[in-house]
């Protein structure tokens, strides 16, 4: 009986020493440590990617200009995001009330809006931001969705480098 008791104690020590680390693979960032990073759930899916609802929002190095939205389950599903308000000074998207309700956003401080960047043909000088279908996050609950804005003046392809702030 004493031997059994000691065995159990050793097992407990093993669990204490072992650090739990979560790691995923990203097409763009390679191996990423996502320990303690919240999973963001897109209950209403990103259009065209209906199978994928769980993502991580990752930073690129120390730079905050761009962020990466990386699928938890598929390393190739990876979006480059940019804060549109820093580039397009006039951007004032009309987000539908239903979307705000669906995301359970109660105050402006809970809302984060980022837009998807496309780099066509690897030519960064023509990279564009999708201002018609921005991603809206509730940073309190980590729920998100791709919203379609109710304005005729925005398109899915606004040039980033020629925009005036």
């Amino acid at each position: 009986m004493q031997r059994n008791f000691i065995g159990l104690f050793e097992i407990q020590n093993i669990f204490k020493e072992q650090k739990y680390m979560a790691e995923i693979h990203s097409r763009i960032l390679g191996k990423v440590d996502v320990t303690n990073k919240p999973v963001i759930t897109f209950e209403s899916r990103i259009l065209g990617f209906e199978e994928y609802s769980e993502f991580y929002l990752l930073d690129m190095d120390d730079d905050s200009t761009f962020q990466i939205l990386q699928s938890k389950d598929n390393k190739d599903i990876c979006f480059i995001l940019i804060d549109p308000f820093t580039i397009f000074g006039d951007y004032s998207p009309n987000i539908h009330d239903d979307d705000i309700k669906r995301l359970e956003i109660k105050e402006p401080s809970e809302l984060l809006l980022l837009t998807i960047v496309t780099i066509p043909n690897d030519d960064y000088s023509t990279m564009t931001a999708n201002l018609l279908g921005p991603l809206v996050f509730n940073i309190k609950t980590n729920k998100a969705m791709q919203c379609v804005v109710q304005d005729d003046k925005y398109t899915t392809r606004h040039l980033i480098l020629t925009a005036q702030s």
């Binding site: 990876c78 580039i87 960047v117 960064y124 990279m127 279908g133 791709q146 899915t156 480098l161 702030s165």
Partner: protein, 81 residues
């Protein structure tokens, strides 16, 4: 899909509070008037298709040069100030 014919100024009612009226016909284009509560989203179908296509193109973006272009973006912003 339910298919109906309408003449100009005739309407269709959907559910309790959505009305669609044929307002005008010119050649191969028709103009529709829609009365619906603000809570109902209304979009041209191409908008969804456009966003879906753009999302797909975005996942093909490569980032070999991302470290270079982020400098460019910052410079641009400073130049405007």
């Amino acid at each position: 899909m339910l298919v109906l014919s309408r003449k100009i100024n005739q309407s269709i009612i959907i559910g309790d509070d959505i009305e669609i009226m044929l307002v005008d016909i010119r050649g191969d284009q028709i103009k529709l008037g829609i009365n619906a509560p603000k809570s109902v989203k209304i979009f041209r179908k191409e908008v969804y298709e456009d966003i879906e296509n753009q999302n797909m193109a975005a996942t093909k973006s490569d980032i070999d040069k991302l470290s270079v272009l982020k400098n460019y973006v910052n410079k641009n912003k400073q130049a405007d100030k």
